[in-house]
C-alpha cells in the first residue's frame, strides 16, 4: 500500500524521508505501475541518493501532472485523530481535497509556502511595517486561491460526509462542518478575496512584528466539526471519533469521484480498533467504489465483509487466503 501511495503521490504516508522506504541495505528503490482506467497510463518513481525521479508514460512531467494520473484516498492510524487532533491534520486533509479536485492547486499551495517562509524570515529581522507590504501582496494572492480551493472542498465534503453517515446506519447525531479560514473572510465573494485578505494582513502588521510570527493566512486555517452545536472532541467517544475518521475517508473519495476521478483507496490498519458491528457499518460507506486495499492485524474483523481477495502477510511474504 505504501508502494502504491509513493508511486501515486511521490511521498510516503509513513515517513517524511523517501530514504526510509528502501529495502534494508539497498541504495535506492524503483517503482512502476500500470493504470488501466479511466485512462491508460504508466507511472514511474525512483529514488536514490541523487534524489527522486518521476515519470508518466516514461517521460518526465510536472508534479501536478503526475498527481493527476492516480488519485488516491489514504487512511492510516494517524488519520484516526483527524477531527480531534492538531489543526495541521485538517489542513492537510483540506489540501488533499483541494489537490484531488484540481492538481493545479499545487501551484498556489507551494507559492504560499514559499512566500510564508520568506515573510517568517523577514519578521526575524528588525524591519519596518512597510517592508511587509510586498510580501503580504504575494501571500494574499496565493492565500486567496488556497482558501477558495479549501472552501470548495469543504462544501462538497459536507454533503458526502452526511451521506456516508446515513449509509452507515450508525446511530450518530448529524454533524456540521465549518471551514474557518485565516484571516476570517467571506469565501463566497471571490472577486474581493485577495483585497480582503491583504487588508487583514496589513492590520495585523504591528502585532506580527512584535511577536515575530505570521499571524494570518491559511497556515492557520481550521476545519471544525460540531455535533448539534457542540465541538466533536468534547462529545464523541473514542470509537465514534475513529468511525467518523474512516467515514471521512469514504466521503473524501466521494468528493473526488463527484469531480470525475476514480480514486484508489488505501486503508492501513483499517480496523481502527473498532468493534465488529461498527466496522461493518463504516464499511458500508465504501460500497460500490472502484478499488480498495486494506490491511489489518486483526484478520477476524474482515469476516462478514464483502471482499474480493484476501492475503496473509507472514514472515515478509504475501500468500492468498
Amino acid at each position: 500500500m505504501e508502494a502504491i501511495y509513493v508511486l501515486a503521490t511521490t511521498r510516503s504516508f509513513r515517513t517524511a524521508q523517501l530514504a526510509d522506504c528502501r529495502r534494508h541495505g539497498k541504495d535506492g528503490f524503483w517503482l512502476t505501475g500500470e493504470i488501466a482506467a479511466p485512462r491508460r497510463a504508466s507511472l514511474q518513481l525512483s529514488w536514490s541518493r541523487g534524489g527522486r525521479k518521476r515519470g508518466v508514460n516514461g517521460k518526465a512531467t510536472s508534479l501536478a501532472e503526475h498527481l493527476a494520473v492516480l488519485p488516491v484516498v489514504v487512511w492510516t492510524a494517524a488519520d484516526a485523530d483527524l477531527w480531534t487532533g492538531a489543526p495541521a491534520l485538517r489542513r492537510r486533509q483540506m489540501d488533499r481535497g483541494a489537490l484531488g479536485l484540481r492538481t493545479s492547486a499545487l501551484e498556489s499551495i507551494s507559492r504560499y509556502r514559499q512566500a510564508l517562509g520568506q515573510k517568517r524570515q523577514l519578521l526575524q529581522q528588525r524591519v519596518s511595517k512597510e517592508r511587509l507590504v510586498a510580501w503580504n501582496g504575494v501571500l494574499a494572492a496565493a492565500a486567496a486561491t488556497v482558501i477558495a480551493a479549501r472552501a470548495d472542498y469543504v462544501q462538497r465534503l459536507r454533503v458526502t460526509l452526511a451521506a456516508a453517515l446515513e449509509t452507515s446506519g450508525l446511530n450518530l447525531p448529524p454533524i456540521d462542518l465549518e471551514y474557518r479560514p485565516s484571516p476570517s473572510v467571506d469565501t463566497q465573494d471571490s472577486s474581493q478575496l485577495v483585497g480582503a485578505i491583504e487588508e487583514e494582513m496589513a492590520r495585523a502588521g504591528t502585532q506580527e512584528l512584535r511577536r515575530r510570527l505570521v499571524l494570518l493566512g491559511p497556515h492557520r486555517d481550521d476545519l471544525v466539526v460540531q455535533w448539534q452545536g457542540r465541538p466533536l472532541r468534547k462529545v464523541a467517544s473514542a470509537g465514534e471519533r475513529k468511525a467518523l475518521g474512516m467515514l471521512t475517508a469514504a466521503a473524501h473519495g466521494q468528493v473526488l469521484k463527484g469531480s470525475g476521478s476514480s480514486p484508489i483507496y488505501l486503508l492501513d490498519d483499517a480496523d481502527a480498533e473498532l468493534a465488529k458491528p461498527t466496522l461493518k457499518a463504516v464499511w458500508r460507506a465504501f460500497d460500490g467504489i472502484s478499488q480498495l486495499f486494506a490491511s489489518s492485524n486483526r484478520p477476524e474483523v474482515w469476516e462478514g465483509l464483502n471482499l474480493d481477495r484476501r492475503w496473509l502477510l507472514s514472515d515478509g511474504k504475501l500468500s492468498p487466503r
Partner: protein
C-alpha cells in the same frame, strides 16, 4: 599538492547546474583535448573577468562604459525596464518589442537569502528616474520576483510613475530566461498596470 584533475573537477562543480558527475566528465574531456583547446578555454575564462564589468548606469554586462544599450540614442527615454539579472536583457531584446532602457537589479528580494533593498541596485535605480514615465517591472514570475515587483511598484508610484508588469502568459514560477521570445513579446505588449 592537490591532484590537478581533482582540482579541475572541484572548480567545475562549483558552477551552477554542474554536479560532481558532470564535472568529472567535463574534466576528462578537457584532459583528452589538444592543449590549444584547453588554453583557449582558460583564456576565455580570464578574459571575461578582466575585460567585462557592469555598466555604471544600468548594471548590464559590458566591455565599454556606458554599455551599448545606455549609449543608444534611438531608445525611448520615457521607458525603463527593470530586470533581475544581466542575462534577462537578451531575451527581451530578441522580442524587438521593447525600445526603452534597462536597469538590472542584480537580484531579487529574498529575506531567506539575506537579500533586502540594500542588496539590490535600488539606490541607483531611484537616481535615474528623471524623464522616465513608465517603469516595466520584468522580474521573474516566482515568489521573490513578484515581491520585488510589488515593492518597487509602491516606491515608484509614490513618485508619480506609471508601473507595469509583464502579462505573464509565461509559466508562473518560471523564468524570463526560459521563456520563448514570442511569449515574452506578447507579455511585453500586454503588460498591465500594477
Amino acid at each position: 599538492m592537490i591532484d590537478p584533475l581533482a582540482r579541475l573537477v572541484g572548480e567545475l562543480s562549483r558552477l551552477p547546474g554542474i554536479g560532481p558527475k558532470t564535472a568529472t566528465r567535463l574534466a576528462h574531456h578537457v584532459l583528452k583535448a589538444p592543449i590549444g583547446e584547453a588554453r583557449a578555454l582558460a583564456e576565455a575564462l580570464i578574459e571575461v573577468k578582466e575585460k567585462l564589468f557592469h555598466c555604471s548606469t544600468c548594471y548590464s554586462i559590458t566591455a565599454v562604459d556606458p554599455c551599448r544599450y545606455c549609449r543608444d540614442p534611438e531608445r525611448n527615454r520615457k521607458l525603463l525596464c527593470v530586470v533581475e539579472e544581466p542575462f534577462n536583457i537578451e531575451p527581451l531584446e530578441r522580442t524587438r518589442e521593447f525600445k526603452g532602457y534597462y536597469h538590472v537589479l542584480m537580484g531579487a528580494l529574498s529575506p531567506q537569502r539575506g537579500i533586502g533593498p540594500d542588496q539590490i541596485t535600488l539606490g541607483p535605480l531611484l537616481e535615474r528616474l528623471e524623464g522616465v514615465e513608465e517603469v516595466i517591472l520584468a522580474t521573474n514570475p516566482n515568489v521573490e520576483g513578484e515581491a520585488t515587483a510589488l515593492f518597487l511598484a509602491r516606491l515608484l508610484k509614490a513618485r508619480g510613475l506609471r508601473t507595469t508588469r509583464l502579462a505573464f502568459g509565461m509559466p508562473v514560477g518560471g523564468d524570463i530566461e526560459y521563456t520563448d521570445e514570442v511569449t515574452l513579446g506578447r507579455s511585453l505588449a500586454g503588460r498591465q498596470e500594477i
